[in-house]
Assembly symmetry: C2
Homo-oligomer: 173 residues x 2
DNA sequence: AGGGTGTAGTTCAAATTCGAACAACTAGAA
DNA sequence: TTCTAGTTGTTCGAATTTGAACTACACCCT
């Protein structure tokens, strides 16, 4: 853990701009969704994933993995969406413990009603700012990063990961 | 607000990968910081901004703007960091209402102790995944986006924005 | 000077998120 | 079959974040 490779100027620029842009964009998206449909970004993402899924339904754990949220976080939001009548819970036919989150017709309508405004914000502040080359680069960069993080071990949302062999996880304070 | 320009396949790819990567990265960063130093990412960002500031101090409002967090959110976190002895509050000499957040020596040490592990994560999952061209592209893209969002009106953190002329803000439910 | 408008930070209640603990069920080995 | 380990989803408490309301102060105009 010695002689750290610090970030070069360009690397630091890229990182700091990324962090700032991410927070700013999240604010904008959140603002637009709340004003336009009362949804949060997390809720919109859930509806979108369900909408793109076969039969418009998905197992809780898989959905949590796709939207990158904790299992308990998903339980909470599905509860909210259920109250709103946008999603229903069904017990999984093949697995008695399983729960399927199903997008309702009302959910589909809500999504269709909400999507245009959402896309407009994403375009205005990000997509439409980019040249075709930059768009390609962005897709490549983010896909690569996502792939690496999905592959690498260490998710807290994952299995308890009983320690074997060299269990060097949580360092001293 | 009709005939929406939907996202093309590449645009959708870029956006979805971006959203996923962002959440995944936030998880990793948060995980590492908590395990290694007990700090949250928000706290780390505050310390970092203060550290890079002249005299290692900054006005609350400016700091909130730089780390892209609400004023009340910053008040809370500065309170936490004060408890930990990493930051101190000083009344601003030039403005009686103002508060200066000042990084303490302990705060500097904490940051120096924590930075290597943090940088390692940022490198491993993002920076080191990129070619030099992609790094350049990333810096350009994110700077552009951040600039646009900083310039465009509509921050809720900003002034109350008394309505004049065409006051068409919050749409009907 | 006197007033009115705007700004700086904090307080407050509500919403959301996470991780750990838990209960129910599945699946592979003995 | 029976036992044991692993999964699945929920519940719980704690921490964090936000926007609105509020107090104190600063600045401009007459």
């Amino acid at each position: 853990m010695k002689d750290t490779r610090w970030l070069s100027e360009i690397e630091l620029d890229a990182w700091m701009a990324y962090v700032a842009a991410t927070h700013l964009l999240e604010r904008r998206v959140e603002e637009q969704l709340k004003a336009d449909s009362g949804l949060t970004h997390a809720q919109y993402e859930i509806l979108a994933k369900l909408s793109a899924s076969p039969e418009r339904r998905m197992r809780m754990t898989e959905l949590a993995r796709k939207v990158v949220v904790s299992k308990s976080g998903l339980t909470y939001q599905i509860g909210q969406l259920e109250k709103l009548g946008l999603v229903e819970r069904t017990t999984c036919p093949s697995d008695e413990r399983g729960v399927l989150a199903v997008l309702t017709d009302e959910g589909v309508r809500c999504l269709e009603r909400t999507a245009p405004g959402h896309v407009a914000v994403v375009r205005a502040f990000l997509i439409d700012q980019l040249t075709p080359e930059e768009l390609q680069a962005m897709a490549r960069i983010m896909s690569k990063a996502a792939a690496v993080m999905t592959a690498a071990p260490g998710h807290s949302t994952e299995a308890p990961a009983r320690r074997r062999g060299t269990g060097r996880r949580t360092a001293p304070g």
